[in-house]
Amino acid sequence: MTESSNRTTPVRRVSSPPAAESTARHNITVDINGETIEAEVESRLLLTDFLRDRVQLTGTHIGCEQGSCGACTVLLDGLPVRSCLMLAPQVDGRSVRTVEGLAAPDGALSPMQQAFCDHHGLQCGFCTPGFLMTLTSLAERETPVTLNELDHHLDSSFCRCTGYMNIRAAARHALGLAHVEGKPAQGDGT
């Protein structure tokens, strides 16, 4: 977890629009980037839309909304998941980390973010938050990451500008794999 989880942070209540439908609403309490957020949410509100529209954390991007593109990836209790494939009520009592939670409070970039800058790992930036969250989970994991494993994680997000190679170079540097020999994995071996 981030340092901020050790601070005592006040609970922040985010507002919801007035109920426009008869279905149930739910009171949820979520740890988001170390801050305790309370809200009343509709049953059908997606986690992505909750983060963007209610908590005003618009760094989590919406791409395909069916789990394919990876732009909406966030960390749920430390593991990368597609936030477009979760309902907001599902994260009640859990911990969510978004791209806004990566940099230090003084604005200093995380090592993975800095590597993306150093290696031109982003261009338009749309896919970047998803890549950063997935790769941050690898960087913070205790067991070492192999190059093959990195490549399979890079498969999981779409980038349409950089051609992936600069993202791969950034990730290799940040993960300490810069000097490991290996070509990008080809397919799934069939």
């Binding site: 439908e21 839309d49 494939l85 309902l87 009520p89 069939t190």
Partner: protein, 290 residues
């Protein structure tokens, strides 16, 4: 908001979940949500009630039962709220049920497997899904509960056509049991997809073993449109085979029984060719491991 209006209830126990299923016939279970959520977001389905079973304690279990006598194999029992990642990364599963681990590695991407459940994939029976085929190949048993009681369903009886199973509308899978493969059993899991993480164009889960001088096999093909389907013609041809090489006439005879349809990416003919190649490769690999 993308899904149609719905009510969400987080079930606190299996009893709670099956009561909700029995009381509202337009309810859907949400475990990992990696199939249901795209359906809701695209409004291909609009249930009135979504019952979240993902945090029911009694379903969050992975149990290993040893056989009663040395000759009996162990059993892996996977609770319905266990994710694919949790199952595949368990060291005992990795060592003793290698086909299950190999198949899970082919499901979507890590982010999908971090949420998607083993039992959810079985209940959904997507024709392109890996786990129903693995369940048939390994002879798994599903445990189903409803307010009317509990019953066991063998994998052979469970899977019907695409997205259809033997489960009744008010039933839920609470666990799946995979018998431990015997040491002399060879296995292979192979699939072709257009790019890593995509749904399979075609795939094969194969198990072969020697038994009293003949070769018993379970060769399960998936991705071709129906549910997981055993290649019985090939299984019969292998019974008295001396090696894994199959007569091309037998393969052609089997291929003629396949009936996939063209889709936007792959013609039916091409799917059959993929299935043929994968089956031949899988039999050879499983034989080598036997």
């Amino acid at each position: 908001m993308k899904p149609s209006p719905l009510d969400y209830v987080r079930a606190t126990s299996v009893d709670h979940a099956i009561e909700l299923l029995a009381s509202d016939n337009d309810a859907r279970l949400l475990a990992g949500g990696q199939s249901l959520m795209p359906v809701l977001n695209l409004r291909l389905g609009a249930p009135e009630l979504v019952v979240d079973i993902g945090r029911i304690d009694e379903l969050r279990s992975l149990e290993f039962a040893d056989g009663d006598v040395p000759a009996t194999r162990g059993v892996l029992r996977i609770g319905a709220a266990m994710t694919q990642t949790e199952v595949a990364t368990h060291p005992d599963v990795n060592g003793r049920w290698p086909m299950l681990v190999a198949a899970i590695a082919q499901i979507g991407h890590p982010q999908i497997r971090n949420r998607g459940t083993v039992c959810g994939s079985l209940a959904h029976n997507d024709p392109q899904a890996e786990l129903p085929a693995v369940a048939v190949a390994l002879g798994a048993t599903m445990i189903a509960r409803s307010v009317r009681g509990e019953r066991s369903l063998s994998a052979d009886d469970m899977f019907h056509g695409a997205f259809t199973t033997a489960l009744e509308a008010d039933e839920m899978i609470t666990a799946v049991e995979f018998p431990e493969p015997s040491p002399e059993q060879g296995w292979s899991f192979r699939e072709f997809s257009r790019q890593p993480g995509d749904f399979a164009t075609a795939g094969v889960a194969a198990v072969v073993r020697r038994n009293a001088g003949s070769i018993e096999s379970r060769l399960v093909v998936f991705g071709l449109g129906g549910g997981p389907t055993r290649a019985t013609l090939i299984e019969e041809a292998l019974l008295n085979a001396a090696g894994p090489d199959l007569e091309s006439s037998v393969i052609e005879q089997w291929a003629a029984t396949l009936d996939p349809v063209d889709d936007a990416h792959t013609s039916a003919r091409s799917k059959i060719r993929h299935a043929q190649r994968l089956l031949v490769e899988a039999v050879a690999e499983a034989w080598e491991r036997m």
